[in-house]
């Protein structure tokens, strides 16, 4: 969410256009309900029409592509945009669906069992991307 706000702020700085920013909760569109534990619904908050607009989906880490698949369905349920594009800060590979980003901050080769955490000043007090190794069981 903060990433989207930051991008909107940058765009406003560069050419003075203020773009509306909203939040999409994709929990209700996931394909793994019942496999991940209690679903946490934070709510979708998009207080503007997306009909006939170009929508840029922003996510911090692109991995299997399943979240984006769910997000595409969730967006299209809200209206018919002209186009949907995808921006992500980190692309770590390992796609399980035919999904590609339009804008990438950094390609980051990772192994399947690592996790990638994006920390943002707004939430975590620092801007940092961390690759974490799972502890051996």
């Amino acid at each position: 969410m903060s990433l989207a706000h930051r991008l909107a702020a940058k765009i406003a700085q560069i050419d003075g256009t203020t773009l509306p920013v909203g939040t999409l909760d994709i929990t209700l569109y996931r394909d793994d309900l019942g496999m991940r534990g209690t679903p946490v619904i934070r709510g979708t908050d998009i207080p503007f029409s997306i009909k006939d607009k170009t929508v840029i989906l922003v996510d911090d880490v692109l991995f299997t592509g399943r979240t984006i698949r769910a997000a595409l369905d969730a967006i299209i349920d809200l209206g018919r945009p002209t186009a949907i594009q995808l921006a992500c800060l980190i692309d770590r590979g390992h796609r399980e669906l035919p999904i590609r980003p339009d804008y990438v901050g950094k390609n980051l080769p990772t192994s399947h069992r690592e996790t990638v955490a994006v920390r943002l000043r707004e939430h975590d007090g620092e801007d940092r991307v961390v690759i974490e190794e799972p502890e051996e069981a």
């Binding site: 909760d25 929990t27 209700l28 569109y29 996931r30 793994d32 309900l33 019942g34 496999m35 991940r36 534990g37 209690t38 679903p39 946490v40 619904i41 934070r42 709510g43 979708t44 908050d45 369905d73 969730a74 349920d77 809200l78 209206g79």
Partner: protein, 312 residues
């Protein structure tokens, strides 16, 4: 706080954290009601059976809408027009419904404990939609969601529940829920309609409407359940309405100006609630009904979405 229960049977068994999780989930789901396309795919391929042995308008309809907005297949069973009229027992009917592999069965029955009986007999999730004078947890949850939206918090609020407490599953579920969330509850009604031991649930008791509504944030009026009354518990409807009916005049003289008036429905206009109060500025009765759909979506989602559940 995660959700691990197979069933939602009572407010009594829930922890405060579970109640807040249910209310939070419902609050976030309310947005779906404002969409042009009111449907999300979360429960695609799930089957919800509404098994109703008692009359219902709000509860059955809102479970049905909730299931459909989440893309579940919803089947309605009502005792009239079923094999119940041919003499089939409750548990036999339930087992037969269970044999059709539903994911969730929502049950309303005139006997206390009916939902728990089903929960033991069937492997699917059971939701109690009212069992006799015992509990009605989704009503309490929608009341709590309405209260939090209007007042902003739970802790420290004082609620008066007024009327036929003895026959009220709504009162019982609300007392359990509200006490766990740090609220004060006063029940008020004629002595014949106040059940014994209600203080043991943590409620205060008042026998005078004017005293009970004096210093509260919420007044919850209950319907006089004449269909459950066997003996003459009140002298007459007119007398009950005179002493226990809530009117604009009594509100103006005794209640706070920011009080909320709630009622679980159906309202007996002119008995427990004057029409000007039911339709008046303090009333949030229809807000309660709208929240009911969100609460039932939340319940269905958490039951079907629990880890190791039938979800997948």
């Amino acid at each position: 706080m995660g959700w691990t229960r197979k069933d939602l049977l009572t407010m009594r068994e829930l922890e405060a954290g579970e109640i807040v999780l249910l209310v939070d989930t419902a609050a976030s789901l309310q947005e779906i009601a404002t969409r042009e396309i009111k449907k999300v795919p979360a429960l695609r391929g799930k089957t919800v059976v509404n098994l109703f042995y008692e009359a219902s308008t709000r509860t059955r309809t809102s479970f049905e809408i909730a299931g459909k907005w989440l893309s579940a297949d919803v089947v309605n069973f009502s005792a009239s027009g079923s094999s119940t009229s041919k003499g089939e027992s409750f548990i036999d009917t339930a087992k037969n419904i269970g044999a059709m592999s539903p994911d969730v069965v929502v049950v309303r029955h005139s006997s206390a404990g009916a939902a728990e009986l089903l929960a033991r007999a069937l492997p699917c999730s059971i939701v109690n939609a009212g069992d006799g004078a015992h509990e009605h947890p989704t009503q309490a949850l929608l009341d709590l969601l309405t209260i939090r939206e209007k007042k902003g918090h739970f802790e420290g609020l004082h609620v008066a529940i007024v009327g036929d407490i003895a026959h009220s599953r709504v009162a019982r579920s609300n007392i359990h829920g509200m006490r766990k969330l740090g609220m004060t509850v006063t029940v008020a009604g004629p002595p014949t309609l106040i059940p014994p031991f209600v203080q043991e649930l943590g409620a205060k008791v008042s026998y005078r409407l004017e005293d009970a509504i004096g210093d509260v944030d919420v007044i919850m009026m209950l319907r006089l359940q004449q269909e459950r009354m066997t003996a003459g518990l009140i002298p007459s409807l007119r007398e009950y309405a005179h002493y226990w009916g809530l009117t604009l005049d009594k509100l103006a003289r005794h209640a706070r100006p920011d009080v909320l008036i709630m009622h679980p429905g159906p309202v007996n206009r002119g008995i427990e609630l004057a029409p000007e109060v039911a339709d008046g500025p303090y009333s949030v009765i229809l807000d309660q009904v709208s929240r009911g759909v969100a609460v039932r979506m939340g319940v269905l989602l958490l039951l079907a979405g629990r880890k190791g559940g039938d979800g997948g």
